[in-house]
Subunit: 306 residues, 2 copies
């Protein structure tokens, strides 16, 4: 089933212990789309500036991603500059230029309206809500957010959470939303705000899926590992790639089952691990479905008793 994703398509300048890249293609919707495209049909809603050309669009088209919802606006694309020199798990932002994103008004192409899955990548919750409301027929809605919206746009964010089936956030964000440091208690508090499923990402330690009331350990909780990587070249987009693998796999299933959610967690971790292996989207552009399945098996071998 097709996924529509709304979020940022951007340029990133990134510095890590492995080196530096200037203005590489990035943005949450970009990483999400590339990762999800290995599993299902993906349609993007975003806005870009005049600096977004055929080369960038070609990255999407090479993975058969529908870009008819990527609007061109006068000016420059969203730009982010950051580094991970001291801590590979947390970016230090040096510069953010919203540019055309500052006046983004998501428009949903007619051809996207039959999408059964919707992913609201990390953007202003007011826009997330607008897109969600404009697509009442979707079967499953997932979303992401970040500290900025949690801290200063709480009311708008809570409106979005009410309409989500699945929220994907990291430890810090979960603890911040819940104002509670205990992960299990925080998960329960976040789910009380709306999402039936909650994926909390632990960076290099994997991710946990909570569902239902999350009181009975095991049955209602699932933990996927991350892969110990030889070298984390660039963690940018790892979380969005996780979301793409996770939600893309779910969308590829005929029906949603507990086993499907578990495998989706593994595919999320797989895609997140690939994203870190080269700068920007480089690794996601070169891998094949066979690479993904080989790594999926390695994850199973990494965690399974028998």
């Amino acid at each position: 089933m097709a996924i529509t994703v709304v979020g940022s398509v951007a340029y990133d300048s990134i510095e890590t212990p492995a080196g530096r890249r200037e203005r590489c293609l990035g943005g949450a919707a970009t990483y999400f789309s590339l990762a999800a495209s290995f599993f299902t049909e993906v349609r993007v809603i975003a806005v870009v500036g005049e600096d977004f050309g055929p080369e960038q669009e070609g990255v999407f088209h090479a993975r058969k991603i529908d870009t008819r919802g990527i609007e061109r606006a006068p000016g420059k694309s969203f730009f982010w500059e950051g580094s991970y020199l001291e801590n590979l798990n947390e970016a230090k932002t040096h510069n953010t230029e919203l540019n055309v994103f500052a006046s983004f008004e998501p428009k949903i192409p007619e051809a996207y309206r039959d999408s059964e899955f919707l992913f609201l990548a990390n953007i202003d919750p007011v826009l997330q809500k607008r897109v969600r409301d404009a697509m009442p027929g979707v079967k499953l809605v997932a979303g992401d957010t970040m500290n900025y919206w949690i801290k200063d746009h709480r009311a708008a964010l809570e409106q979005v959470l009410k309409g989500l089936d699945i929220l994907l956030i990291n430890d810090t964000e979960a603890r911040m939303i819940a104002a509670n440091n205990n992960l299990l208690q925080a998960a329960r508090a976040v789910m009380a705000l709306g999402p039936r499923f909650l994926v909390i990402k632990h960076g290099e330690y994997g991710a946990t899926l909570f569902h239902g009331s999350a009181t009975k350990i095991g049955e209602r909780t699932f933990r996927a590992p991350a892969l110990p990587l030889e070298q984390v070249v660039d963690p940018t987009g790892a979380g969005d790639s996780f979301a793409g693998g996770f939600f893309g796999y779910l969308a590829s299933q005929k029906e949603l089952t507990p086993g499907g959610f578990r495998r989706a967690m593994f595919y999320g971790s797989v895609m997140g691990s690939f994203a870190c292996e080269r700068f920007g989207t480089e690794r996601l552009q070169e891998i094949t479905r066979a690479d993904i399945d080989t790594r999926f098996d390695a994850f199973r071998e990494l965690t399974h008793l028998d």
Copy 2:
């Protein structure tokens, strides 16, 4: 097969967000012994002061732990005071009194000499080495250490590492020994110093077993989860309890197999999770083998795809 463990038997005063306890029974050898005692015969080498009485000894005897190697010395037992008020993952030490431990000279009872497994809990590496050398017939030797020895007693520690089959440490300690932040590279550097197997504990995120050259992911790496706990009452001794469950289970096996090591990682995590549920050794004193197996199954359910 019987395990001999050398390490501290102590009193701890502990403060956590869940409350405070004064002078409860603690020490690495205590937690290790209690956890391992559910799987195999355990023999302790330690030194205590005149404040260690029948009540404390009864805690060991209730679990059929051999205490003939616990020496009584004039003075007070080792005492530690710490809190976890800001961060449940890291203790803040307020006071350490070595007391009788300052002049500890481990003596190995004759009855311990046929032990096939030896655990060197976190004590001065000079003493670890002495005990290890005094028991040349053991089949498998595992050990622990801490930042203090890594930082200021490097040469002595390296002598211990040479004689270890298995080292159990946490992320920070692994990175400190290797002077490398990448977990996989750090693991390889630590194993180059001696241990064939390395268990790196990630606190609330579980633990990873590295073995062989740790270059091929999956086959030579295994990751066990930790359990998301409703309330971490007191994390003191969780790492030692992990070691006890891990090593105790290995010692209970007729032969050492890759599958046995994997299950041992799970039993380690299981025992670590119990240790956190009440203050000090309280929870380890009340659980049964049936509780352990039930939780083992919950861990499998938490992580397994099928």
